[in-house]
């Protein structure tokens, strides 16, 4: 889909090239993450793909076509672009912002409006609530979503993303990453993704391209990168605790079946049942759900003694946080650390209870791998 051949960029007034003789091929539908320390040329490489920077040497092929021969404006209109600070237009409403590319392509108004609605919903922003707001009225996470929506609205086959989830807190970041992966699973776009965060790279990518001082050091799948780093630089970048990094590669729903725990309690369950289940539980608590299998709360050993009541509903207390089943094991670990418990309840997109995973499960996964 995208092929870079001997790509070189020397900025005027510099002796050392920012990108040197870079060869890289990205397959259709793949997420390729360019990773490396700042100044390694990863952003420069990306900006040459949509010709914000003109290469000083080498070739770029997009679907076999020579991108350097194409009209840059036309080229860019078919490549989604999300940048670090998002670059939302402050004087336009969210709807106008998202409609930027359709307006440039002069789509009919109705089609644009429909598509904007659709893509806003896709990234989790209710169009009725947000479309008339201005960017200043949005939180950091919401702005990032608008940035992604704006890049996707015209359904470009290729997207370039320059640290798109950089400016938000870690929890929001993990959530945006998971949502994005869910969308990508459906859309199957070819994505070039730039980050300096190796954890993000491992989590988001189909392939990782590690760069240093303008050169490509290694281009591999995340799993190969972890098990066989090409040189010391890559292994340093990946870090010493490689087995923990593997937690990024595994999604909760992949291990959930293997860690089958007792069924959750119905909220109408009697005290005897609660006691029986508690005795069997390895987390000294039982999860309580309602008739629709929605998470109601949790009953710990102490709750049974401390509170009075007849059925589970009376004893249970709220859970501090849950995690969705498409999150990675690493996300689950951070939630556990965040709420200070050895387990976390897993729910699906519709908030229905799916199971529970514990620190022990994570340890088992790490152990198996190493």
């Amino acid at each position: 889909m995208i092929k870079l051949e001997g790509l070189t960029k020397v900025f005027p007034g510099h002796n050392i090239p920012a990108v040197k003789e870079l060869n890289l091929e990205i397959k259709e539908g793949d997420v390729c993450v360019l990773v490396g320390p700042s100044g390694c040329g990863k952003t420069t490489t990306m900006k040459m793909i949509n010709r914000l920077y003109e290469p000083t040497g080498g070739k770029i092929y997009i679907r076999g076509e020579d991108a350097l021969q194409m009209d840059p404006i036309k080229l860019r209109l078919d490549i989604g672009y999300v940048i670090q600070e998002i670059g939302l237009f402050p004087h336009m409403t969210i709807e106008e912002n998202v409609a930027t590319v359709p307006n440039e392509k002069q789509w009919p108004k109705d089609k644009t409006r429909e598509k904007v609605k659709e893509v806003m919903t896709l990234v989790g922003l209710d169009p009725d609530v947000f479309k008339d707001r201005y960017p200043t009225a949005l939180s950091g996470g919401q702005r990032q979503r608008v940035g992604v929506a704006r890049a996707m609205v015209s359904d470009p086959p290729i997207m370039l993303m320059d640290e798109p989830f950089g400016a938000v807190d870690p929890i929001t970041r993990a959530r945006l990453q998971n949502e994005f992966l869910r969308i990508q699973e459906r859309m199957g776009k070819t994505i070039v993704f730039v980050t300096h965060d190796i954890d993000e790279a491992i989590k988001m990518s189909d392939t990782i391209a590690v760069m240093r001082e303008g050169e490509l050091i290694q281009h591999d799948t995340p799993s190969d990168l972890l098990s066989a780093p090409a040189d010391e630089f890559v292994s340093n970048l990946v870090g010493r605790n490689r087995s923990i990094k593997r937690l990024h590669l595994i999604r909760i729903n992949e291990i959930l079946e293997d860690v089958s725990r007792g069924k959750p309690l119905n909220e109408d369950a009697k005290k005897d049942d609660i006691e029986k289940q508690l005795a069997e539980s390895d987390i000294r608590s039982v999860i309580v759900v309602d008739r629709d299998n929605k998470l109601k709360g949790v009953i710990g050993v102490n709750d049974l003694k401390r509170k009075a009541g007849e059925v589970a509903r009376d004893y249970c207390q709220d859970v501090s946080d849950t995690i969705t089943d498409d999150a990675t094991l690493n996300d689950a670990l951070s939630v556990m650390l965040e709420i200070g418990e050895g387990y976390v309840a897993v729910v699906n997109e519709d908030d229905r209870y799916q199971g529970t995973i514990t620190l022990g499960d994570l340890l088992n996964v790490v152990k198996e791998d190493s």
Binding site: Y81, G87, E104
Partner: protein
């Protein structure tokens, strides 16, 4: 609705009313015969007309040239010149308006046209500077996002840069108008007419009443125009 009437009609009428009250009172109750001869409705209307003429012609020209010049200097190819111009303009602004008029008198002679030309040049400065600074101040990543999504440079200028710079350009316009109304009172020294006529006459015959009339009308004009442009800007800019 009621608020709108108050903002657009009420407050301006109060301002005009204050000026009108002072003029009517002065014309009807002159302190002596000199004031009575020098301060007539006819004369007041004439100097107001002249003053508005000076203002309108010089400001229209200055706005067109200032905004166009500011846009041109902000283009990448002329950007370096733009930075130099910014400094020159800032120095030019420190030259007193009276000196500017005097300078053009020595070069071009007397009359309304010379006064208009001097005012025009003097008013370009804040407009040019603010247009340049406003466009220059648009965040880099906003421009880059627009370019990266495939917007044409001209579209980026009209759809992104100018709207974002608009409040700053308008601020320059307001500065220019206030300065212009004040400086136009000096046009009388080179035979340009205007409210300065009243003030200079009052000074030469030692009658404060005449001076006050000229000064009040000039002040109210400046405040009113500044106020109205500010309100228009509030209307247009909803995002800040």
């Amino acid at each position: 609705m009621l608020r709108n009437i108050w903002v657009w009609v009420g407050i301006p009428l109060i301002m005009i009313g204050i000026a009108a009250a002072i003029v009517i009172y002065s014309v009807n109750n002159p302190t002596d015969s000199i004031v009575a001869r020098m301060l007539t409705y006819e004369r007041v209307f004439r100097v107001i007309r002249e003053h508005m003429g000076l203002l309108l012609v010089s400001m229209t020209g200055a706005t067109i040239v200032g905004v166009a010049g500011g846009i041109m200097l902000s283009r990448p190819s002329l950007y370096r010149i733009g930075r130099v111009m910014e400094t020159i303009v800032n120095i030019g602004q420190t030259v007193p308006s009276l000196a500017v008029l005097a300078l053009f008198y020595t070069i071009l002679g007397l009359g309304f046209r010379v006064a208009v030309f001097a005012l025009f040049l003097y008013s370009i400065l804040p407009i040019l500077r603010n247009t340049f600074a406003g466009i220059d101040g648009v965040e880099h990543n906003i421009i880059e996002a627009a370019r990266g999504m495939g917007m044409h440079p001209l579209r980026i200028l009209t759809r992104i840069e100018l709207p974002i710079a608009f409040p700053i350009i308008v601020a320059g316009l307001r500065t220019a108008i206030v300065i212009n109304v004040g400086a136009a009172t000096l046009a009388t020294f080179i035979g340009g007419g205007g409210l300065g006529d009243l003030i200079v006459t009052g000074l030469s015959v030692h009658r404060d009443m005449i001076i006050i009339n000229g000064a009040v009308i000039a002040a109210v004009t400046a405040i009113l125009l500044d106020y109205l442009i500010g309100k228009v800007e509030e209307r247009v800019v909803r995002w800040a």
